[in-house]
């Protein structure tokens, strides 16, 4: 068999294997916190259901030889989902999802019911991007290397990254609790509805702040201000605190 044919066959076998194993795992929960710990490639999407649904978007495959076995990792975690993840209860209201088998191309698409808080932590410098879409609840996101993209979200959120760019598009800004977004080396790009009411704090040490929104900048009335650029001001009539900072990068604040 020549090499080319081998490749073609490989692809066919791969496809046949992959199709039936488009796997799914469901966790019944409508409140509390879903913590995604050190997952490499994750997209989270809000929906109005009553269970968390984790789907593998790429190919999750285990070697032929491992059939009937479960991946185990150094932290003593075992795959209890069939898709390379470990789901654990931590306290009453918290489910922790961790990756057990690291070396695969699995991409996880996670559907989250409204009312479930999402926490995502990835402390790898090679971490992949984190994406969130259509989430109306609280989110905590932390990455070291990966970019963070959040679309159609409301906050409250606490988001931080060291090397990642952070893009957030708000549908509206949740008013009861504050949000804070910070990145050290990445750029921060935030889009808000033009009619947003918020108390803004924008900061960068080495970058610039750009905006097309009408920010009513407040005088630094004797308050100690540090950081080379620190802008406090109101959007609209003022409201919940929204703190945006990019130490080395730029802050882009857009109205829509």
């Amino acid at each position: 068999m020549n090499a080319q044919l081998k490749n073609v066959l490989g692809v066919i076998v791969f496809t046949l294997l992959a199709l039936p194993t488009l796997a799914q795992h469901k966790i019944a929960m409508t409140s509390g916190m879903l913590e995604l710990k050190e997952l490499t490639n994750v997209a989270v999407e809000g929906y109005s259901g009553n269970e968390v649904v984790i789907e593998t978007a790429g190919s999750y495959k285990i070697p032929e030889r491992a059939k009937g076995l479960k991946p185990v990792n150094g932290m003593g975690l075992t795959d209890n989902t069939g898709i390379g993840l470990s789901v654990k209860d931590e306290g009453k209201d918290r489910k922790v999802v961790q990756q057990v088998a690291r070396n695969n191309d699995a991409k996880y698409l996670i559907k989250v019911p409204k009312g479930v808080k999402v926490k995502y932590v990835n402390s790898s410098i090679h971490g992949d991007d984190f994406q969130a879409k259509n989430i109306a609840g609280e989110m905590e996101v932390q990455t070291l290397g990966g970019d963070i993209k959040m679309i159609d979200v409301t906050g409250p959120m606490t988001v931080n990254s060291v090397h990642g760019n952070v893009d957030v598009v708000f549908t509206n800004v949740f008013q009861d609790l504050p949000s804070s977004i910070a990145t050290v080396h990445g750029d921060l790009d935030v889009t808000l509805p033009k009619s947003t009411n918020a108390n803004l704090s924008l900061a960068t040490n080495w970058g610039e702040v750009y905006s097309d929104l009408d920010i009513k900048v407040e005088n630094a009335d004797g308050m100690k201000v540090y950081g080379d650029k620190k802008i406090s001001g109101k959007l609209g009539s003022g409201g919940v605190n929204l703190s945006l900072s990019a130490t080395h990068g730029n802050v882009y604040l857009r109205g829509k």
Binding site: K216, K234, S237, G238
Partner: protein
């Protein structure tokens, strides 16, 4: 935050915002009252009344209404009420002693500025209505449009009042110089 936003917040139950409006307006209003009534204690009380009324009638504030004319209108009603009750027009005071006392109430630095003294004596000799229009337009530098709202008349009418009041002030001043 604009005055209007603050007042809307007060209207919607955030009463703390009233203290911000107090900070912005209590001095101008106090000056407005004292220079019309030539009575510091009364000016104090009337200023107080304005803000109590502002809180009490907060629900009557409408978003599309400019705050400054609105609060001055309230101030005007308050001293009109006061005059009606006490039935005294301050221009009725003519005694020399009374004049001295009243001017002293307004002018703390009489010794230092002769012209200031002359201004307040001349002002005292005007009618309250003339004092009012000069206080609003010249001392507090309100726009004619705003004053028109406060006095509930046309801008042209405000201008006429201003001109007449200035002219009258001039005459009172010249009378003083003759003494």
């Amino acid at each position: 935050m604009t005055d209007e936003m603050l007042m809307m917040a007060v209207k919607n139950g955030d009463l703390q915002k009233a203290s911000e409006l107090f900070d912005r307006y209590h001095k101008p209003l106090y000056n407005f009252f004292v220079k019309i009534t030539f009575d510091r204690d009364l000016g104090h009380d009337l200023t107080q009344n304005v803000f109590l009324r502002m809180i009490k009638y907060r629900s009557s504030y409408r978003q599309d209404k400019q705050f400054r004319p609105w609060i001055y209108q309230m101030a005007r009603n308050i001293y009109a009420d006061h005059f009606r009750k006490s039935k005294i027009l301050y221009s009725d005071y003519t005694g020399v002693e009374d004049l001295k006392n009243r001017i002293a109430a307004v002018d703390e630095v009489i010794e230092e500025d002769e012209r200031q003294k002359l201004l307040y004596i001349s002002l005292f000799k005007l009618s309250p209505e003339q004092r009012e229009v000069l206080i609003l337009t010249r001392f507090q530098e309100m726009k004619y449009e705003e004053v028109a709202q406060v006095l509930d008349c046309s801008v042209a009418n405000v201008k006429v009042k201003v001109y007449r009041a200035i002219k009258q002030l001039r005459e009172k001043y010249l009378e003083l110089e003759k003494i």
